[in-house]
């Protein structure tokens, strides 16, 4: 008999990722509707202190899987520990954030449990007593709604920032259940971990791209785009004209003769919109253009535009984004 909706708690050095709270919020609602309990699953070392606080976000129970073997994330260690517990407790659903780790872990756990997994979801809803997930396919050009009708637990990874953190109750605590985890044989041996302070994503992988054209007037001015990109966790791109001028290397070039991109947001600054550029970015979900020429072709494909001096507007945007990213 299936018991409970589980949320995998992703943390690094004791700091819980926001997506965990988002999943707890959404999981709370589902658990209430289904009349099940909401459990958080917390593997790691020295993480027990986090556990009670998860109650504020909706968890009824927290399984703490403390072990030296789980100090650092490894595919085998975490998948073995989580799957072993799931086999014993038989939850009805397991939710994870669609992060590098969540994606890695979910596939292994799903196969160990012989169940279905919906990855990269952008929504979760209850329909006729069944959890239904929405996920983008074909780079967001279509969506699919899918469920896992019979196999249990239902598993899904859900993108960060698509579910709201709501209904938190200060002071609410969760029941803490300490479990001795079975990390099993860990075959991936960590030799080195390199964390970079600021790594911008690769252009073709980025969700947000801030791109500059000839209107940037010089290589030194790309600093203002980089500042904006860092606030948004975005990649920086350039038009062919800016690359030709030697302001950025060819690897930054967006366009048909450079890289074809389709991010969620493309912010074009001082780019006039030559056809080769448009062909390489017009499938972006949302296009923002800043250009001083109201006749610039880029405005024909832009969802939002500001006609004006980019040197004035871009830093203002950076400040505005800083405010909302903090909230």
């Amino acid at each position: 008999m299936a018991k409970g909706i589980w949320v995998y708690v992703e943390q690094r050095d004791g700091k819980v990722k926001k997506v965990t709270y988002e999943l707890l919020s959404a999981g709370r609602k589902a658990a209430d509707s289904l009349g099940e309990e909401l459990c958080a699953v917390l593997p790691g070392k020295g993480v027990a202190g986090i556990a009670p606080g998860l109650g504020e976000y909706g968890a009824d129970k927290v399984y703490v899987l403390e072990s030296d073997a789980l100090e650092q994330y490894t595919t085998d260690g975490y998948a073995n520990a989580v799957a072993a517990l799931a086999k014993e407790k038989e939850p009805s659903a397991i939710l994870m954030g669609c992060t590098v780790t969540g994606r890695d872990l979910a596939a292994q756990v799903a196969q160990k449990l012989g169940t279905g997994l919906l990855t990269d979801c952008t929504d979760m809803a209850l329909e006729n007593g069944q959890l239904v997930f929405t996920r983008p396919i074909y780079a967001g050009k279509a969506f699919v709604k899918a469920a896992c009708p019979e196999a249990r637990p239902v598993m899904a990874t859900i993108r960060p920032n698509v579910l709201a953190v709501e209904g938190t109750q200060a002071g609410r605590t969760a029941e803490v259940v300490n479990v001795t985890p079975n990390a099993g044989d860990i075959r991936q041996i960590i030799k080195d971990t390199v964390l970079q302070v600021s790594t911008r994503p690769e252009l073709t992988e980025a969700d947000i791209i801030v791109s500059g054209g000839r209107g940037m007037k010089g290589p030194e001015n790309f600093k203002i785009l980089e500042d904006l990109a860092d606030v948004l966790g975005a990649a920086v791109g350039a038009s062919r004209a800016a690359v030709d001028a030697g302001w950025k290397p060819h690897s930054f070039q967006v366009g048909q003769t450079g890289k074809t991109v389709s991010p969620v947001v493309y912010i074009a600054c001082g780019i006039s919109g030559a056809i080769q550029h448009l062909a390489g970015m017009s499938s972006s979900k949302c296009i923002v253009a800043v250009n001083k020429d109201p006749e610039a072709n880029i405005f024909k494909v832009a969802d939002y535009g500001i006609v004006g001096d980019l040197f004035e507007i871009v830093p203002l945007l950076t400040e505005e984004f800083k405010k909302i990213m903090a909230s």
Partner: protein, 385 residues
Amino acid sequence: MSEPLMLFDEVRDAIVASGGEEIQMCMQCGLCTGSCPWGRMEEKAEFNVRAMFHMGRLGYDGYESDDFLFACTTCNQCGVKCPRGIKIPNVVRSMRSVICETGGIPKNLKAVLGSINSQGNPWSQEKDDRTAWTAGHDVPEFTPDKEYLLYVCCTSAYDGRSQKVARSIVDLLKAAGVSFGIIGNEEKCCGESVRKIGAEEEFGNLARHNIDLFNKKGVKKIITTSPHCLYTFKNEYPEFGAEFEVVHYSELLHNLVSGGKLKFSKPVAKKVIYHEPCYLGRHSRIFDAPRELLGAVPDLEMAEFKGNRDFSMCCSGGGARIWMETKAGQRFSDVKVKEASESGSQVIATACPYCIVMLEDSLKNQNKDEEMSVKDISEILKESL
């Protein structure tokens, strides 16, 4: 130690089977490579036609790359020189088609083919926006009583810059009282450059679609805005049963001017240098019409590139190169812009949408876009109406 090179006849057989039988006529004299614009660039290029023919014929590896097999712009400068009369661009096309069938074409060209298949144009633009260029402009629709179909190149249909060319041509045709109309969103790309990628299947699909469409609509005569569409409609569509009379707009306007139906009265007091589109000049033998049209504009001072007509240098946008990146120092259009600037010209005139894209990029990257401009001859003629 290097491995011995083994002959591999099947490669030659495959090239021949794809329509490149002329590869066997090559005597390796090297006049092709000697005349190739790649050899005249500041920075040494890998591309070498003669060597490629040699390797293809013997079945050696090593030329299947962006900078070699897919470097050729199919400008046909070599074809003019070849003492064996080989249609070299056609052999290059057949070599590419062997690769293309297996899916191993350059990344950028894969996106182009994807866009061709799903949108009917190479620019990844919505197929239903093909007539967006007509917004606010009165452009007649083609009906069977119209004499001509005006077929607008994908580039002029979608590129904001090039849309101006399409509108200029419409205005000129109207001024001359030509009976014409457009079909628009149902049209697909002519496929000229698609075939040059080697994508025979995609090209066949496009040709069949357009021929059916034109026949269904009652089209007999076609005016093209681009020399590339002209070339393929005229020389390649008949392979699929097409029987249309095809003219480039410059030929038609030239006839209208000669017949007194079109006059240019407003002076354009500028020095204008004419850049020969390869597919208008060398490939289609239309050399005089554009020059005489420019000559009919009052006060316009004509200039010529040192290499012109059969010896004009390509802009580097043909043969699907418009969708690929060419390193600075190897761009033919940069060389052309430099020469145009040295000639003291204010305008580079041409009659091909690809040439405009390439030359304007070069004008910008050499910071000459304030002193000079690139114009389609139709734009100059319209100014002079």
